[in-house]
C-alpha cells in the first residue's frame, strides 16, 4: 500500500475526530456572528480535503527512501517514553543517569560510556539548572543530588 494513502486515511480520521468533538462547541451567549466552532471546523475541513486528495491521487512511491531501522526506532521511542514517565517519580538525577545508558547505547556507545555520559550530564545539569538558574527539577525519593 502506498504511503501517501496511509497518510491520507490518517488525515481523514483526524479530521473526523476534530469535527465530532468540534461540532457541539457553542457559546452560551453569542456576542459575535462567528462562534468558537467555526475556525476548528474550517481547519478540520481542510485537513479532510488534503487527506482525500492524498488517498485519491497519491504521489509516486519514492525509491530513494532509506529503509526504516525499525528496532532502533522502537528502542529509542521506548526509552524516551519511559524517561518522560519516570522523570518526576524517580527524580532528575536518577532517571537521567539510568535512561541515558540505553539512549547512548542505541547511538553506538558501550554501556560504561553511556553511564559516564548520563552520570556527568545528570549531576552537572542539576547543579547548573537547579542551583544556579533556579529551574526547579524533581529531586526524587532520596532528595537532592543522590
Amino acid at each position: 500500500m502506498n504511503n501517501d494513502r496511509i497518510l491520507g486515511a490518517a488525515a481523514i480520521a483526524v479530521a473526523a475526530i476534530l469535527i465530532a468533538y468540534g461540532y457541539g462547541l457553542e457559546a452560551p451567549f453569542a456576542y459575535e456572528p462567528v462562534g468558537p466552532r467555526a475556525f476548528p471546523l474550517i481547519a478540520a475541513a481542510v485537513i479532510a480535503v488534503c487527506g482525500a486528495i492524498l488517498v485519491l491521487k497519491p504521489g509516486a512511491v519514492d525509491d530513494a527512501q532509506t529503509p526504516m531501522p525499525g528496532r532502533a526506532i522502537i528502542a529509542l521511542s521506548g526509552s524516551l517514553l519511559a524517561y518522560s514517565f519516570l522523570f518526576q517519580p524517580l527524580g532528575f538525577v536518577i532517571s537521567t543517569t539510568v535512561f541515558m545508558v540505553p539512549i547512548a547505547m542505541i547511538f553506538g556507545a558501550k554501556w560504561w560510556q553511556g553511564a559516564l555520559t548520563g552520570g556527568l550530564l545528570a549531576v552537572s545539569s542539576f547543579l547548573l539548572f537547579d542551583s544556579v538558574l533556579d529551574v526547579v527539577l524533581p529531586v526524587g525519593p532520596f532528595g537532592g543530588i543522590v
Partner: protein
C-alpha cells in the same frame, strides 16, 4: 534620517554588556549548531524557548540571542559541507557541491575563509536592506485591518505550500494541523473549552515549548538513527592556505553580489528561506558563468563563484527573513516562526505596531544583526579549526545532551509529567509525518499564526455582521487574494517550474 536615529538607538540597546555577551554566545553556539549535522538552527532555537524564560531575559535579549544562533548556524553549516561533504543544516546542501571538491584539491582553507567572507557580505547587504525596507513596509502595513490580515495570512500559507515542497498538499495538511492545534484550550472570546477532552492540562492550550521541542528536537533524534547506519564520510584534514587572496576575491565579487541580492529577495517571501535562496542562486550563477564562456566554468568540480554565491545567498536570506517577521508578523521560516511564538509568550502582538510600541526590541534586534555578523566573521576565520573539531563529538554524547536539555526545558514550564509525555508523543508522531513527507516548518507557522488568523477572521466578520463578502472588500485584500491564488495555482499549471523545483530542492526544512 529618522531611521538613522532609531538605528543608533538600537545600537545603544544591542551594545549593552549583557546583550553584547548574549550575541557573542549566540554566535558561538550558532556556529557549533550549524557545524553538527542533525542539529539545525530550528532545533537549537526550539530548545532555547524555555531556557530564555528560565533565565528571566527581557524580550529583546531573548530575540538577540536566538537571532545570533540563527544567523550563526548559517555560517557553521558551511564548515561541515566543505570538510565533510555533509551539510550541517539544510541550506548548506548547495555549499557542498562546490565546497567539497575545492577541499579535496587542497584548498579547504581558501574555501572556508572565502565562504565566511561571502557569508558576511550577504548578511551585511541584507541587514542594510532591512534598515531601508522594514520601516517603510511597517508604516504601510499599519493600515492593515483584520480583513487585510486574513488575506495576508492566506497568501503566506499559499507561498509556503506553493514554493516550499514537492507536494503542496502535504504542506497544506501541515499548516491545517498547526491551525487545529492552536485552537486547543479555552476560547478567549466565548470562554468555551475546545478539545481539552476534560483534561485540566489542556485548559490553557498546549505549551508552545512542548510542541516545538517535540516536533523538532525529539523527532530529529529519531531521524538521526537512520543516518547512523550510513557509511562515515571522509573528512578532509589538509587545510592548505588559510586565507583567500585578492585575486580570488575579485574573481568572486560579482557572484557574491548576485547571490546576496537573490537571497535578500527570496528571504522576504514567506516560506522560502535559505534552502530555496541558495538553490536559486546556484542555478543562476551557473547559467551566468556558462553563458559568458563555458570553457572557464568549473561548476561541479569546485568553482569558487558557485561557492561564493550560495553562501552569500543563504546568509542574506536568513537575515532578510526578519523583514516579514518584524513588519507584518508573518514569519518566513520555521526558525523565525519560533521567534515570533516567543514574542507572543511575552504578551507582545507581532505586527507593524511593534515598530511604534517596541523600538528597543525592533531596532535592538536589527542592530544586533550587524554586530552578530561582525562577531561571526571574526570568529569564523581564525577559529574554523576549533569548530571543525566539533565534528568528532560522537552521537552518543550529543543525543543524551539534547534529550536532557529538551526535557528540562519542557519540564520548567509547568512541571508536569503530562507535558513530558506529550513532548515525546509529538516527537514520535512528527517522525512518522516527516517520513511520509509532511514538512514540519509549515505546521509551526500554522500554530503560531492560528490564533491571530482566527481573531482577525472573527473580528472582520463581526464588523460586517457575518457577511463573508467583507473579506475581499478592500483593494489590498483583493490584491493579496489574487497573489495567493497565483502562487498556489502556478506550480500546478507550469510543469516546467515543477521540474525545476524538484531538481533544485531536495531537502526541506
Amino acid at each position: 534620517m529618522e531611521t538613522l536615529g532609531y538605528l543608533m538607538h538600537g545600537f545603544g540597546v544591542a551594545l549593552t554588556p549583557s546583550n553584547l555577551l548574549l550575541a557573542s554566545i549566540g554566535a558561538v553556539v550558532g556556529t557549533m549548531v550549524g557545524v553538527l549535522p542533525g542539529l539545525g538552527p530550528i532545533n537549537a532555537v526550539a530548545m532555547l524557548v524555555p531556557v530564555v524564560f528560565a533565565l528571566g531575559l527581557p524580550p529583546e535579549s531573548s530575540l538577540i540571542l536566538m537571532a545570533a544562533i540563527y544567523i550563526g548556524s548559517e555560517y557553521g553549516g558551511r564548515i561541515s559541507a566543505i570538510l565533510l561533504n555533509v551539510p550541517g543544516e539544510a541550506s548548506a546542501v548547495m555549499t557542498a557541491i562546490e565546497g567539497y571538491p575545492l577541499a579535496r584539491q587542497g584548498k579547504a582553507g581558501i574555501a572556508l575563509s572565502l565562504s565566511a567572507w561571502t557569508s558576511f557580505v550577504g548578511s551585511a547587504i541584507a541587514t542594510i536592506g532591512i534598515v531601508v525596507a522594514a520601516p517603510v513596509l511597517a508604516s504601510w502595513a499599519l493600515a492593515f485591518g483584520p480583513v487585510e490580515y486574513v488575506a495576508l495570512m492566506v497568501f503566506a500559507f499559499a507561498c509556503l505550500s506553493g514554493l516550499l515542497t514537492d507536494q503542496p498538499v502535504k504542506a497544506m495538511l501541515a499548516i491545517s494541523l498547526g491551525l487545529a492545534i492552536s485552537t486547543i484550550g479555552i476560547d478567549a472570546n466565548s470562554g468555551v473549552y475546545r478539545y481539552t477532552f476534560g483534561s485540566p492540562n489542556l485548559v490553557d492550550g498546549v505549551q508552545f515549548a512542548t510542541v516545538v521541542i517535540g516536533l523538532f528536537a525529539i523527532s530529529e533524534l529519531l531521524i538521526m538513527l537512520e543516518f547512523m547506519h550510513g557509511g562515515a564520510a571522509v573528512r578532509i584534514k589538509q587545510m592548505g592556505r588559510s586565507l583567500f587572496n585578492r585575486s580570488e576575491m575579485l574573481f568572486t565579487n560579482m557572484a557574491t553580489l548576485r547571490g546576496s541580492l537573490i537571497g535578500f529577495f527570496v528571504g522576504i517571501l514567506p516560506g522560502a528561506g535559505g534552502t530555496v535562496a541558495s538553490a536559486l542562486a546556484y542555478t543562476t550563477e551557473k547559467r551566468v558563468v556558462e553563458r559568458a564562456g563555458p570553457e572557464g566554468s568549473l561548476f561541479g568540480r569546485g568553482d569558487m563563484r558557485g561557492l561564493a554565491s550560495v553562501e552569500a545567498a543563504n546568509n542574506s536570506a536568513s537575515n532578510s527573513n526578519f523583514i516579514p517577521m518584524l513588519t507584518l508578523g508573518i514569519p518566513s521560516s520555521g526558525t523565525t516562526a519560533i521567534m515570533l511564538g516567543v514574542l507572543t509568550l511575552y504578551n507582545l502582538t507581532p505586527g507593524p505596531a511593534l515598530f511604534r510600541s517596541q523600538p528597543d526590541l525592533v531596532w535592538g534586534l536589527i542592530a544586533s544583526l550587524f554586530i552578530g555578523n561582525f562577531i561571526l566573521l571574526a570568529i569564523n576565520i581564525p577559529l574554523v579549526g576549533v569548530f571543525a573539531r566539533m565534528l568528532s563529538v560522537p552521537a552518543w554524547v550529543l543525543v543524551p545532551f539534547i534529550v536532557v536539555v529538551s526535557t528540562i526545558g519542557v519540564y520548567s514550564g509547568k512541571s508536569t509529567t503530562f507535558e513530558l509525555v506529550l513532548m515525546v508523543g509529538l516527537g514520535i508522531g512528527a517522525y512518522f509525518l516527516r517520513r511520509l513527507g509532511v514538512p514540519m516548518a509549515p505546521l509551526i507557522l500554522g500554530l503560531v499564526l492560528g490564533k491571530i488568523l482566527e481573531q482577525s477572521l472573527r473580528r472582520a466578520l463581526s464588523l460586517s455582521a457575518g457577511d463573508i463578502a467583507i473579506l475581499w472588500s478592500s483593494p489590498i485584500s483583493i490584491v493579496l487574494w489574487t497573489m495567493a491564488a497565483a502562487v498556489f495555482l502556478a506550480p500546478l499549471l507550469l510543469p516546467k517550474f515543477q521540474r525545476w523545483r524538484r531538481a533544485t530542492i531536495t531537502a526541506d526544512e
